[in-house]
Amino acid sequence: MAHRVDHEYDYLFKIVLIGDSGVGKSNILSRFTRNEFCLDSKSTIGVEFATKTIQIEGKTIKAQIWDTAGQERYRAITSAYYRGAVGALLVYDITKQKTFDNVQRWLRELRDHADSNIVIMMAGNKSDLNHLRAVSENDGQVFAEKEGLSFLETSALESLNVEKAFQTVLMEIYHIINKKALAAKEAARTAGPIAQGTSIDVSDSAGGSKTACCSR
């Protein structure tokens, strides 16, 4: 059977999918990880989990994606849901103004429970339903800039920008980690004899990608 322990990745990143119920989180996930889309998919109960491995600059990145039911937001799933998450895809439905209005609440949720350095991508999903659009792309863009988020309009149905959205998040995380690693090396060199500083930096960079991010 295929239950093998694999270490065929260089980095392990946990990404959470959040947003109101019905915005298409699970379909974004299935499109990204399995290239599937289901029009009448069952609503998520609790949390669902998927993984996908991608390559960035010759490194293998394994993304572990946690997808919660929108309804669960403040209740059954505890804050541990965000533990170890280094990226978030915050999804709204461009045909439903309410889901866009609620983005603010989701951001607050992230600020309260997730790591402050979490990389956030806001995705306006269902861009295929342009004729039903309720939120203009410009509104999304303006909001994203104001909040310092990445932004894309996606369509899980048409497979538009889904891959790109995840890749952007993962890339950004990867670069942050790399920068940290470099800074750590730098710090280690300059700090030199101070043993304390060295040990902290090492754990932050080299071990960081595999231990801190893999939610073990």
């Binding site: 069952k42 609790g46 403040y74």
Partner: protein
Amino acid sequence: MSTAAAVEASSMPRKRFSGLRGVRWRIDLGILPSSPSASIDDLRRVTADTRRRYASLRRRLLIDHHPPKDGDSSPDLTVDNPLSQNPGMHELLAPIVYVLHVDLDHLLQVQKPYEDCFNDEFDGITLPENNMFSNYKVKRASDWDSGIETENTHHIMSDGRSLDEIDPDTRDILLLSDSYGAEGELGVILSKKFMEHDAYCMLDNLMEGAQGVVAMASFFSPVVGSSTNLPPVIEASSALYHLLSIVDPFLHAHLVELEVEPQYFALRWLRVLFGREFCLEDVLVIWDEMFSSSNCRLIGDDVEYNFKVLCSPRGAFIAALAVSMLLYLRSSLLATETATTCLQRLLNFPQNPDTKKLIEKAKSLQELALVSNIVPSSSQRDSNKGQFRVSSGYSLPSGSAFPVPALHVVPDSYWEEKWRVLHKDEELGEQSNSDQGSAKNKLAEKLSLYRTKSEPLKAKSALNRSSIRQILFDDVSSDIGAVENHVTSECCEAPIDSNNLNVGDFPVVFADQRSSNWIVDETLMSGDNSVVVSKFLYPHDIGNEHEIDSVKSSVTSNSFLSDNDEETFNIEEPCSQNVSNELAQDAEATSSHVADAVPEQRATPIHWKSFAGIFQWFWKFGRGSNEASCESQSSSDAPNTNKDSFDTTTCDGTDNSCGVNKRIEVGDKKMIHTLRNLGQSMLENIQVIETVFQQEKGKFDSLDNLSNNILGVKGQSTAISALKELRKVSNLLQEM
């Protein structure tokens, strides 16, 4: 109240309406009277009443849209929370509607032979298909039951058989669907016309729990429960981890270590009652079992408990089934390294699992779930209890119900046992140097097979364990029961074949002397001390046959998993070495736990002590493990620095104690000869140990800073004295 009796009663197969799942569910869910003496007319009257209630509720809601504020609060929930807003609720409804449909189909099948009877000359017009009543007008049948004699009595069926001659099931069905019976059409129990009414009543009772413990609606509610600070679904999730921690502490610890909180997967399992994990047919079978377990609260109001959901047999079954599923995935889960992969597996339960085995396993755990929920009333423990409740998720009620040891201790004791069993076999094999028994060969065959499958292993021994175990488990999971038996017998018999000296005869010996098979089984098969111990901590139920049986079965079946692990160690020598180091480290922790458990029984009833006595006796003579336990107990200060020595002594201890038992039973010369050999080899081993010990001592002096457990002078001396003891034993053996 005897929980065992209640479980038995509730799980008893109900013969009545066996072919009509919808009717049975209505009885089980508390809509129809469950008393076997209830007549068909009684059922019909109750049915009619429930339909009237639903009809009036619907009328009220349709006419004025305001939800009723009067006393009748139960229907509000489904009205206030339209199904679409709560994913899952409609998935509870769907099987109910399906079952009602199937019953109607069944009715049509049954009616076919009597078509002439139903297709009567009432008006000679065939009415549209969708009106069930016109399809089987049972005008003629009406006087069968009511006793009203009409001018043309139709006691004789069209094919010449009288009503009394047809089988009771068919008769019931015909009576249930007789629109001329009690309450007329409204009382027709199998009725397409009132399917909506019936489905509503069933869903309502399922959601509200019909005054029982498990009310599904609460699983959708964020409202914090009264007894804990947690929402009911989170509490129920914790309950299944609680049960898992008793049944399989190692797996539990693994999940906790990965930070897999139970609600991450249990939320879905519980909310739709496993509806998304199994195909419909399996779900129906599971629900049959679930509903047939009573939802009544078994625990008195004054008794303290840990989890509300475990207060009724139904709730206990739900938790037990979840644990059964976890055990089914055991090796696969243990092979995971991250929460995500673990959860992926948990939420992608294998297609076509052996549902029957899963249910059987769940039933065997049901009683344990009920019993383990009771908190012994002791003021001393109240403070502990409070603490445990505040902490969320997977917290263990360690301080409250019974002394479950620290998390990292239990699993290792488990492995320790496995490792011992393995080494015992190995040692025996080496010593006999003779023909290898067929069973052993078989084992070896298996192992070589596994070796080809196993992955290159990483340094971390935990990973080694898991990955191999997972491979092994693939076989196991295909048929829990068969493997259970198979492994059990293998474990017992393999040594017999290969060696004259063996543990194989041992259970027989012991059983004869003690006439308590179950203890033997437990300890021999399971290596799971914590289960054994916790069992003894439920004083209320000791002596209760049923409880013993159920615990026994849970323990033995737990062991089938572990017995595979034994093989695992055979496969991977280096692996077992790695592990053994770890295990040895915890040997003394485990045994001290076991030892602690005994004196710590504050509210110990008398018979507990007697059992404990047997137990200790057993430990003392029964098996190598206890030999090691005693030993490490005595040297409990001796830390892991001398782990290698412990490894070896443990093996010898095993051989030794088995030998003693053997002697009790059979006194033949061959045995004595073997024993002598054994003693000799023991001595050799001890010499080796002593050398190692000296070396280790030197080595670890420099590594003291790295080790948490520094080998103190006292520890050294204790360990040495333990070795002396061993020497004594070996001398004794030699003299035999």
